[in-house]
């Protein structure tokens, strides 16, 4: 039985990893090798795709879009956490009245399909002069991720034993001190998991970024799609670009791995 589980685990791991491996391998091939059918797995390796990503044939630097993506993702994640932690506190530890209704309200904001809001948001951006402005994306990503973050943080904060909070209160700790010195350390794995999820969602967002940005505020996913062409080959270039653009998320994931495992299994064992 254990062997079977092992085999299944390995099989699914390989199944999930195969597309990533294919992407990395293709990114190291030349364009003509990348386009063959069946794929030429053993073809010679080259860094041409990466040179193209860094502007070898167009002179366009990938750094501005990458920096834009960092600003939008990190900026919105910080604001989301600053808002979501107090909100979650008020929904789990010191519950407000009708807190279940509030939770449902947060969830209901995710029910409208994103694309349905696209045109009104575009018009708002145009009238307020916020088109092609990265701050607008920060606001959007904040509002898109906030409900998820509140839900996640609420379940993490609900794990904080009330006895500890009582003890803190007896020792004279106020709200901010309690949040900072008692709740935050216990909930840290949860905060890390929430932050990472918000970061990934913002980093990968394409629809709004494509429509609302233009010359200066384009993010990395928009820049990535720019390598697709209807005349000529592009698979290797796009794979190289996709590999580079996925790196920050991978690095963030590895860096937060310990906290993540704790965070995601919080409350799993009681």
């Amino acid at each position: 039985m254990r062997r079977l589980v092992g085999v299944v685990a390995w099989f699914s791991a390989i199944l999930f990893f195969a597309p990533v491996a294919w992407m990395v391998l293709t990114s190291l091939h030349s364009e003509s090798d990348a386009a063959t059918n069946p794929p030429s797995l053993g073809a010679g390796l080259t860094l041409q795709g990466y040179e193209e990503f860094f502007g070898a044939s167009t002179g366009q630097s990938p750094w501005p879009p990458l920096i834009n993506s960092f600003s939008a993702s990190i900026g919105s994640t910080i604001i989301v956490l600053l808002l979501a932690i107090p909100a979650a506190y008020a929904l789990s530890i010191k519950k407000v009245e009708k807190w279940t209704d509030v939770m449902f309200f947060f969830l209901s904001t995710k029910m409208l399909p994103v694309v349905a809001g696209l045109l009104p948001i575009y018009l708002v951006a145009q009238f307020t002069g916020m088109l092609d402005n990265i701050s607008f994306l920060v606001i959007l990503y904040t509002s898109m991720n906030l409900p998820i973050a509140v839900w996640l943080m609420r379940s993490f904060l609900a794990e904080v034993p009330p006895e500890i909070l009582e003890a803190a209160s007896i020792d004279g700790a106020g709200l901010i001190t309690t949040l900072r010195r008692v709740v935050a350390p216990i909930a840290m794995p949860g905060i890390a998991a929430t932050a990472l999820i918000c970061f990934i969602f913002s980093w990968n967002e394409l629809l709004f970024a494509r429509v609302l940005t233009g010359v200066v505020a384009g993010t990395a996913p928009v820049f990535l799609t720019g390598f697709v062409t209807s005349q000529g080959l592009f698979l290797a270039k796009v794979c190289a670009a996709a590999t580079v653009v996925s790196l920050p998320v991978l690095i963030a994931g590895f860096a937060a791995q310990d906290k993540l495992v704790q965070g995601l299994s919080l409350g799993a064992v009681k």
Binding site: S32, A35, T36, N37, S57, T58, G59, Q60, W63, P64, P65, I67, N68, S71, A72, I74, G75, I78, I79, L82, L83, Y122, L123, Q126, L131, D132, N133, I134, S135, V138, A173, G174, L175, I176, T177, R210, V211, T213, G214, V215, V216, A217, G218, V222, T225, G226, F227, V228, T229, S230, Q231, G232, L233, F234
Partner: protein
């Protein structure tokens, strides 16, 4: 809650403000537009010629004029969405955008483009009369004004492997008929291991399978609409042409035909998986490029015909100026440089003559350096573009201009929906009759609208 002092609230609020402040700048790209207006924003489709101009701009155009050019490059479908979004709302984010001869008359009619005639008149070096007649015509709107200048132009022709034909003792007529092409496709099918007879696009999309197929329909005597807006998609001629196309590609066409577009066919041709290919003339420069494995093995014939004298299409990517742009003078300076004669020479001398954005000026075809590099195809491509008749592409009068498309805004949707049916017919999951009957219903809805006008 007593300790929840206002000082602490202020501290949290300050932290939030810092977080916003970090990102309050408008973005990191491009450097933005400077106060003196010495920069323009250009939105382009990502084709190889556009990659070249990105590379050459800073050291040439910007150095000469002091105008910085901020490029945004997107794939074809995305760029169309983005342009229509920015231009229809006249948001003015982009001063210049690449539009084709399909969009130009429609956009001009909608008042989204700035007319260029005054700029042309003042710019003696530009030489508007050097632009090939059909291209110039197709970028002039109903009001007689010029609204875009071509970056490069293309028509369609038949490309084939001369070495394979020679080995089999076959000859391609200079102006073949479709029946001859079908017979030749059967004979060269399998001429080399894994080689198919002909590559024809089968990928859904009004600009994919619909483009070559509509030229076949034209020469078989069919049309999308009659002059008085009657839909003709399931007429006998349209049906005969589509059956011919679908049968040919199913019998002797490339593997994976229902998904094959320009890029896939280019790849098939480069790798020797097909012996013939009917497609855009710009493909010739890519097939004859220095790193192409089939360089020197190719020959070129005019677009195959049936009932018409000629059946090639006409297409151009051109630069148009948004009406809302506040930098139209600088925008024209850019267009004058990019669409000008000197830019072609610059590309020829710095990147190679096979990379010249050609097919738009008659002077290109008098340049000995260019002719030497494109000796196998230059004359045929020039003849194809010069002979294209956008206002009279078939056997009957048309209600709107366009050869491989109908020049109405509804055509992108209509063409794409019909193309999905035809792509399924190529895949064998539906019949041509069913596909075209469904197409007729869609086309009739569009026709009804125009009849009511």
């Amino acid at each position: 809650m007593t300790s929840f002092s206002s000082r602490r609230v202020a501290r949290v609020a300050a932290a939030a403000l810092v977080a916003v402040g970090v990102t309050a700048c408008s973005g990191a790209g491009g450097g933005g537009s400077t106060a003196d207006g010495q920069s323009i924003n250009v939105l382009m489709v990502n084709n190889p010629q556009m990659q070249d101009i990105q590379k050459l701009t800073a050291d040439n155009f910007t150095k000469q004029t002091g105008i910085k050019v901020n490029y945004t490059v997107l794939p074809e479908n995305d760029v169309r969405d983005k342009i229509s979004q920015d231009f229809s709302s006249q948001a003015g984010q982009y001063d210049v955008a690449t539009i084709s001869n399909y969009e130009t008359p429609i956009y001009a009619k909608n008042n989204w483009l700035a007319p260029l005639d005054d700029f042309i008149a003042k710019d003696s070096g530009f030489d508007q009369n050097d632009i090939l007649e059909p291209i110039r015509q197709s970028l002039t709107a109903e009001d007689g004004k010029v609204y875009a200048e071509p970056f490069y132009g293309e028509s369609s022709f038949l490309m084939y492997r001369k070495d394979v034909f020679d080995a089999k003792n076959l000859t391609m007529p200079e102006k073949p008929t479709w029946q001859q092409v079908a017979d030749l496709a059967a004979q060269v099918d399998g001429a080399e291991p894994g080689m198919k007879g002909i590559c024809l696009r089968g990928q859904p999309g009004w600009g994919q399978v619909m483009a070559p197929l509509t030229t076949v329909v034209n020469t078989f005597g069919g049309t999308w609409f009659t002059k008085d807006w009657q839909a003709q998609v399931n007429s006998p001629e349209f049906k005969e042409a589509t059956k011919f196309y679908v049968d040919l590609v199913r019998a002797h066409g490339e593997a994976g035909a229902p998904q094959a577009g320009f890029a896939e066919c280019l790849n098939n041709m480069t790798q020797g998986k097909v012996a013939m290919w009917y497609d855009a003339t710009v493909a010739a420069g890519l097939l004859e490029a220095n790193d192409s494995p089939v360089k020197g093995k190719l020959a070129f014939a005019q677009a195959p015909v049936v009932k018409t004298d000629a059946s090639q299409w006409l297409y151009t990517w051109a630069f148009g100026v948004q009406k809302a742009s506040k930098k139209q003078d600088n925008a024209w300076k850019f267009i004058s440089w990019a669409s000008g004669k000197d830019y072609e020479k610059l590309v020829g001398t710095s990147l190679g003559w096979s990379k010249v954005p050609d097919g738009k000026r008659s002077s290109t075809y008098q340049n000995p350096d260019y002719l030497a590099a494109g000796s196998s195809f230059a004359k045929q491509a020039e003849a194809a573009i010069k002979g294209a008749k956008p206002t009279d592409p078939g056997v009957q009068p048309r209600p709107a201009s366009g050869i491989q498309f109908v020049g109405i805004p509804e055509f992108t949707d209509l063409g794409t929906q019909v193309s999905q049916q035809i792509s399924s017919a190529i895949a064998g999951s539906t019949s041509v009759d069913d596909a075209l009957n469904a197409g007729q219903a869609l086309a009739e809805k569009v026709a009804e609208k125009y009849r009511a006008k």
